[in-house]
């Protein structure tokens, strides 16, 4: 595992441990999750106990110690989305990908996450794939939306 990227990220924050939450987010962006070795490196470089790094890495819901898929699907369970069909939308995605909330497909293509609110409530229900927002979703649109990303991979 190449950890020079971790060092670079810490450099960007001038080795300040107060930026730990941001540092871990950037490391995750690079590795797609937080590998144990990277966490150890962060602790070493910031000169803080590994337990503190673990404490932060497990406290915040966007940080993941598990390997995630290539595309991250975030289904919004904000109040507006909840009222306008979140449950059906999530269930349909689960059905199509044959995974549960929080899991990754066998081919490592998709990870399904449920998030508190994407802040696009007017377009409820909403889901986002790799940060791109899809509004006014319904169960019938799920397959076509997922296909956009499946095709990307085939190319």
């Amino acid at each position: 595992m190449n950890l020079t990227k971790v060092d670079e990220i810490i450099q960007e924050y001038e080795g300040e441990d107060s930026w730990l939450v941001m540092i871990l987010q950037d490391v995750q962006e690079d590795f797609n999750f937080l590998p144990e070795l990277a966490l150890k490196r962060v602790a070493e470089q910031l000169d803080i106990p590994l337990s503190r790094v673990h404490n932060v890495a497990t406290f915040y819901s966007s940080l993941s110690l598990k390997e995630r898929g290539k595309h991250i699907i975030k289904v919004c369970d904000g109040t507006a989305c909840h009222l306008r069909g979140f449950v059906n939308l999530r269930d349909e995605i689960c059905r199509q990908l044959a995974i549960k909330e929080g899991e990754t497909t066998n081919d490592k293509l998709f990870t399904l996450e449920v998030v508190a609110c994407l802040g696009a409530c007017a377009l409820a229900p909403v889901m986002a794939i790799d940060g791109k927002c899809f509004g006014n979703m319904d169960t019938q649109k799920v397959e076509a939306t997922l296909d956009l990303y499946r095709k990307q991979t085939q190319k």
Binding site: E16, D17, S18, W19, L20, V21, M22, L24, Q25, R52, N55, V56, F59, Y60, S61, S62, L63, K74, D77, G78, T79, A80, C81, H82, L83, R84, G85, V87, N88, D91, E92, R95, V115, A116, C117, L118, G119, A120, C121, A122, L123, A124, V126, G131, C133, F134, G135, D138, T139, Q140
Partner: protein, 632 residues
């Protein structure tokens, strides 16, 4: 680099001239909602068509004007003519619109509204009333029911200026307030103005802003910190996102004024992770403000310096709580602490700290510019100024609405937002997110302000307003918020960690039909315990959704436990759908909508649900055009 206050006014005048130049300007609302609705493609198409036709048009992107229902929204400004807003512009329409505008044809059939007077910008007015040129049939923006009762202070300029270009903020009189305080106001005078204006924190608690500033100013210690809470964790609220995306400089200017009054030289903006565009736009704004000498060392040539950094949250609702937010900024897990030591004295890094939310900061420059006398005339007693609400859920015109405080729920939901769609019945409105409550129809005339809502058992919160119709189950909504809070409780105090989880268990039991009348009583008792024994605001207010629904919708709880029925047809274990043969028009829509192929039927034959296959998702009911799907 702008080195003096005189130079700033020159730059503003120049920027205004450029903003209202002699060219046609087309802007696309490219906030998160706009982009999710295809604004990116619309913007590309417009640029492409302008190039193709060799037109000398300016193409810009702006933030959101708040009318989310009409996204993507495009506005066109032709010199000397009213500004025209268009709704639901697809790439195909966009291309046609460019061609039409080139011929001076307004395509008024696509127009949402026209704006004769650009007085929405704080400092400047452009009046072209009377020059209608075929636009007579297009309503004026201020006459639209959606905008008629609105008063834009915090959302001023959102959707009107390009957030990526500081020049446009200057054109709207931006940074005048900062110049005013640096050149002619003492710190105490600024705090007095904010106090007299009656500004209360827009993040939820409604604490007097000036009082916080004053205690932080008086506190001993160096450095002092000024923070902006952009964590906006309440699901259903997105006004802070809209401000950060659409008018980031208003937040920076407000913070800089606050820092000057408090005597701070550094600050942070804490933005939640789910708002990447807000982070990007704030980054650009900070960079530009520094280049212009409006942030950083020796602002506007004075000896006042202030620097701001952005920090991203990592997905923890509790970090909207002030002490948890500070813990997160220190690189720790976001656990709140008891507040017997005030953060004004010992906050971030144990130094004097002042925290206000995005909307509060955005109000500050206007109070300084227009004066507290002007500001304090807006709103009701003890609740001065405006508040932005995000009105969403089962309502016709979803969007961001900024109204003077004290206006009634009915005015917001019915007059401005058009009421409940699809001829459904209004059931209730949830305000204040997971810390707030659910109010019934009989309270629709309640004045909406900090005090009114708290008295009714709900709260203002950050301003989320979620409208529910007769197909929304209030028990399920209470369960939903309680589940949310179970996940988001940081686990530090027992009352919240264990209590909220026990509440969820009872609510779960009730929604699957296994609850009893005793469970409802136990639930109520537990709610009071959690409310009275939790450390921080999250736990103290966690029972609000349950307590308020118990107070106003007890019959619905009873229907769940006594009759084992969910009146709204939402709780799956208590619901059975059937198609009324005599009402069914055999259109086939429900067959297509059913995700599990549980509906049979063909043309001219009434459809039928196969109960063994049905998963009670209600997709058939939502799609049926004649309400033939009923619950038993």
């Amino acid at each position: 680099m702008i080195k003096s206050i005189q130079e700033l006014s020159k730059r503003q005048a120049k920027a205004q001239k450029e903003y209202y130049c002699d060219k046609v300007r087309i802007s696309v609302g490219a906030g998160t909602c706009g982009l999710a609705n295809g604004a990116g493609e619309v913007l590309e198409t417009i640029s492409d068509e302008v190039d193709k036709q060799g037109l000398d048009f300016l193409v810009r992107q702006t933030g959101c004007v708040g009318f989310c229902e009409g996204e993507p929204i495009v506005d066109v400004m032709i010199p000397g003519l009213p500004r025209v807003f268009y709704r639901d512009i697809s790439p195909r329409k966009a291309r046609e619109l460019v061609q039409a505008i080139a011929q001076r044809d307004f395509r008024s059939e696509w127009a949402l509204a026209r704006l004769d007077k650009d007085n929405l910008l704080v400092e400047l007015e452009r009046d072209v009333s009377g020059k209608l040129n075929g636009l007579a049939k297009v309503p004026a923006l201020h006459e639209l029911p959606f905008y008629k009762q609105q008063a834009k202070i915090a959302l001023r300029n959102c959707g009107f200026i390009d957030p990526h270009n500081i020049e446009e903020y200057l054109a709207s009189g931006g940074y005048s307030a900062l110049a005013k305080v640096l050149s002619s106001m003492e710190a105490e005078e600024i705090i007095d103005s904010v106090e007299n204006a009656g500004l209360r924190g827009r993040g939820g608690g409604g604490f007097l802003t000036a009082r916080k500033w004053r205690s932080c100013r008086k506190a001993d210690g160096y450095p002092k910190y000024v923070l902006c809470n952009g964590d906006e964790g309440d699901p259903g609220a997105f006004m802070d996102r809209s401000i950060m995306e659409g008018n980031p400089h208003s937040v920076l200017e407000g913070m800089t004024i606050g820092a000057y009054a408090i005597g701070a030289d550094r600050g942070y903006i804490y933005v939640r992770l789910e708002y990447p565009l807000a982070v990007e736009n704030l980054r650009i704004a900070i960079r530009q403000a520094k280049e212009y000498g409006l942030l950083g060392e020796n602002i506007l040539g004075t000896d006042f310096s202030f620097d701001v950094k952005i920090s991203r949250g990592a997905g923890a609702f509790v970090c909207g709580e002030s002490t948890a937010l500070m813990a997160s900024l220190e690189g720790l897990s976001g656990e709140p602490r008891a507040k017997h030591i005030h953060t004004a004295e010992k906050g971030l890094f144990k130094k004097p700290t002042n925290l206000n939310n995005v909307e509060t900061w955005a109000n500050v420059p206007v109070i300084i510019n227009k004066g507290w006398q002007w500001y304090s005339k807006i709103g009701s007693d003890n609740n001065k100024g405006t508040k932005v609400f995000s009105v969403v859920g089962k309502v016709k015109n979803t969007g961001l609405v900024e109204v003077p405080m004290g206006i009634s729920l009915r005015q917001i939901i019915y007059d401005i937002c058009g009421g409940v769609p699809d001829k459904r019945q209004f059931k209730g409105v949830q305000t204040g997110g997971p810390s707030g409550g659910c109010l019934p129809e009989k309270l629709l005339d309640l004045p909406v302000d900090f005090d009114g809502l708290t008295e009714a058992g709900s709260m203002m919160g950050s301003g989320g307003m979620i409208v529910m119709d007769d197909r929304s189950c209030v028990v399920e909504i209470a369960r939903y918020f309680t589940e949310f809070l179970t996940k988001e409780s940081c686990g530090k105090c027992t009352a919240c960690r264990e209590g909220v989880r026990e509440m969820l268990e009872l609510l779960d039991k009730i929604t699957i039909g296994q609850g009893s009348t005793e469970d409802i009583e136990l639930l109520e008792e537990l709610c009071c315990y959690v409310r009275d024994n939790s450390i921080c605001g999250l736990g103290k207010s966690a029972p609000n959704p349950t307590l308020s629904t118990l107070k106003y919708f007890r019959d619905e709880y009873e229907a769940h436990v006594v009759e084992h029925k969910c009146p709204a047809g939402v709780c799956r274990e208590l619901t059975k759908f059937e198609i009324e043969a005599e009402t069914c028009i055999a259109c086939g829509r429900c067959i297509k909508a059913c995700p599990v192929e549980a509906i049979t039927g063909e043309k001219k034959v009434a459809h039928e649900i196969i109960q063994e296959k049905c998963i009670k998702c209600g997709a058939c009911r939502d799609t049926c055009p004649v309400d033939a799907v009923v619950t038993l």
